[in-house]
């Protein structure tokens, strides 16, 4: 197996809100590792902390506590120049290709700017050449460099977002819901592109998404988050075939399948209630108020993420 590229250790990110004595516990003790060349899927519903986890890794948020070891360096201790150098190696692809590209810059300018700012390609003609190369790499045409974002479709814009991330020659890309804003017929194009690029360039992905079918397709391993905590983590096959945590099971059973005959036979675990507020998470296991199998002690003790089988961890005492 290849070396560990990223190790997130007991990551905590609390946000303080005016008028509230307690903070929002967006990320509350998250740990996982990603090996070089691997894709780790990070799934969960809105507000579970998956995006905040990604932003902490990108150092767009400074964590409240915990360590983020990337290529052997703890990112949380870095300042200014050192951080800037590392940022080249960790890039991001955002969800919304409409709001993450500057509408007043051409595609060529959008892609050339980071090359110039980071001093990667200093000469102007060489930069234009590199822009052409990047566009071709993501399945666009060199003449797209002269266009503005509004002249492109959603799928094409997301390709620009990918090219911009690639411009820095990163080793890790945080993909934050990269296909959920796109039309169904375009999603598969972008997923195939991400996979091709990974193969060709040896990229490592943290793939944040709420769509479990997409995550199963693209990930090697998957971590499931609920209310700021990882509740289960294992390789994709086992997660989908033998899910251990009751929340994972409920999530999987909620995913609709495009086959009426199969749907008619399928039992659904519809969860009671809604996700509690991270301002005031329940005591004990954070999932216990909605859990179909909870017992008394679930309200008392916080279950630790523990290894049930080799490479299969879950935070449920009943597993």
């Amino acid at each position: 197996m290849s070396e560990v590229l990223l190790e997130v250790n007991n990551l905590v990110k609390h946000f303080h809100i005016r008028g509230h004595a307690t903070p929002v516990r967006a990320v509350d003790g998250v740990s996982f590792t990603i090996r070089r060349g691997e894709t780790l899927g990070l799934v969960g519903e809105s507000g579970c902390g998956k995006t905040t986890t990604g932003r902490c890794i990108l150092q767009l948020e400074r964590p409240t506590s915990g360590r983020i070891m990337f290529e052997g360096v703890d990112l949380t201790t870095l300042e200014h120049q050192a951080l800037r150098a590392v940022r080249r190696r960790v890039q991001v692809i955002f969800q919304d290709p409409y709001s993450s590209l500057n509408p007043r810059m051409t595609i060529g300018q959008i892609l050339a700017e980071p090359l110039e700012v980071h001093g990667i390609v200093r000469e102007k003609a060489a930069r234009a050449e590199r822009v052409r190369e990047l566009l071709t790499q993501v399945g666009l045409l060199p003449q797209h460099a002269r266009r503005y974002p509004h002249q492109l479709s959603g799928g094409q814009r997301q390709r620009v977002g990918i090219a911009r991330a690639l411009a820095m020659e990163p080793s890790l890309i945080v993909c934050d819901e990269p296909v959920s804003a796109l039309d169904v017929s375009i999603q598969a194009q972008i997923i195939n592109l991400l996979e091709d690029l990974q193969e060709r360039l040896g990229l490592t992905y943290l793939f944040i998404a709420h769509d479990l079918s997409v995550v199963r397709h693209i990930s090697d391993r998957v971590a499931v988050m609920y209310l700021g905590k990882v509740v289960e983590i294992t390789d994709r096959q086992r997660l989908y075939e033998e899910p251990l945590h009751p929340y994972t099971r409920a999530l999987l059973s909620a995913v609709p399948i495009p086959d009426p005959a199969l749907e008619a036979r399928r039992e659904r675990t519809v969860l009671r209630g809604e996700v509690p507020s991270p301002l005031n998470p329940p005591g004990g296991c954070v999932f216990h108020p909605r859990c179909p199998i909870a017992v008394d002690r679930c309200a008392a003790a916080v279950p630790q993420l523990r290894e049930i089988k080799a490479g299969h961890l879950t935070a449920c005492d009943l597993a």
């Binding site: 017929s185 194009q189 997409v214 199963r216 909620a254 609709p256 086959d259 005959a261 969860l271």
Partner: protein, 330 residues
């Protein structure tokens, strides 16, 4: 069963600086009493505009229903006066929108938003309307109704707001509910709750539903019949079983093949539909899917009509639909 809604050859257009957008370009479908029908398609295919046309809520002057008939219980809604139409909206046909936050009034209490329709449409007295509002909240699974009625939409979570929208839609006992992407803005586990709720209520109360969605998975479980739209037209229609087991239009087939599925063995690569969705101001002549179609033939420069393509109700608008027919296993 009797036909409740019949949309016939509907054309709805928008005038933009880039030209005329034929958002709905000759669409016909119907909904029978008590049944659930789906309109499926990607953004810009005309599915929402077709529902807004039924409600006569297409924003004028840019948007205009150019021609067609919308027969509801035999009456053509397009011939009604605005005053007559108002007694149809909310009373006989109700709508559930995608965005529960922006479609509720933020400065009115939940109670007022529920009772307003009851007082206006049904002439209820405030006390009776309040009692009915509490009953409605109970029906959609919102407990503690008395306290909830005094709250505002921002006190509600996304899932509860959508329950509230459903309660509003049901308030006047409509015979048809148009649900435009009713669960798209919600989390997966809440989606499941809302869809199960809508199905139970529609069965129990005998309300017909027209569900508009881009998610083929959602429709599989909840729709009796499915209409697939592309570039302003219906390109395939059939029972859910027909459409999913044996799609007869290359676009439907492409959509079904391009999504990864939890119930299937993992695939090395997905099979996307190549190319981009069409620009509605510059549609190709003939079938709009031709540039992206792997089954295309010369004849595709003529527009194929939606025609029966098998047993039962299955219809497809494709010259090559027989090539897509599954060989019957011997």
């Amino acid at each position: 069963m009797a036909k409740l809604l019949q949309v016939q050859n509907l054309h709805t257009q928008f005038m933009t600086s880039a030209g005329v957008v034929r958002a709905v370009d000759g669409v016909s479908y119907d909904v029978e009493e008590g049944e659930t029908v789906a309109l499926v398609g990607e953004s810009g295919c005309g599915k929402s505009v077709s529902a807004l046309s039924v409600m006569r809520l297409v924003a004028e002057p840019a948007g205009r229903i150019v021609s067609g008939k919308i027969l509801f219980k035999g009456r053509d809604l397009l011939k009604l006066s605005e005053v007559e139409m108002r007694s149809v909206r909310g009373r006989e046909i109700a709508m559930v929108f995608q965005e529960p936050m922006t479609s509720l009034n933020p400065v009115l209490t939940i109670g007022r938003q529920l009772t307003e329709g009851l007082e206006i449409h049904l002439g209820m007295q405030p006390a009776a309307a309040k009692a009915r509002a509490m009953e409605l909240l109970g029906m959609v699974g919102i407990s503690d109704a008395e306290r909830r009625l005094a709250q505002y939409p921002h006190h509600f979570s996304g899932g509860m707001r959508q329950r509230m929208m459903i309660a509003m839609a049901l308030a006047c006992n409509p015979s048809l509910i148009l649900a435009d992407e009713p669960t798209t803005a919600l989390d997966v586990t809440i989606q499941a709750q809302i869809l199960e709720l809508m199905r139970d209520l529609s069965r129990r109360l005998g309300v017909a539903m027209l569900i508009i969605t881009h998610n083929l998975g959602v429709v599989a479980r909840y729709a009796d019949r499915v209409n697939v739209m592309y570039a302003g037209r219906i390109i395939e229609r059939g029972t859910a079983a027909e459409i999913y087991a044996n799609p007869r239009h290359p676009y439907t087939l492409g959509l079904l093949r391009s999504v990864p599925r939890l119930d299937e063995p993992m695939r090395a690569k997905l099979d996307p539909i190549e190319g981009q969705p069409p620009d509605l101001t510059r549609l190709p002549t003939g079938c709009a899917f031709t540039p992206r179609c792997t089954y295309r033939v010369e004849r595709c420069s003529e527009t194929p009509a939606l025609e029966a393509c098998g047993d039962g109700q299955h219809m497809s608008a494709c010259w090559e639909s027989t090539r897509l027919a599954k060989k019957v296993a011997a």
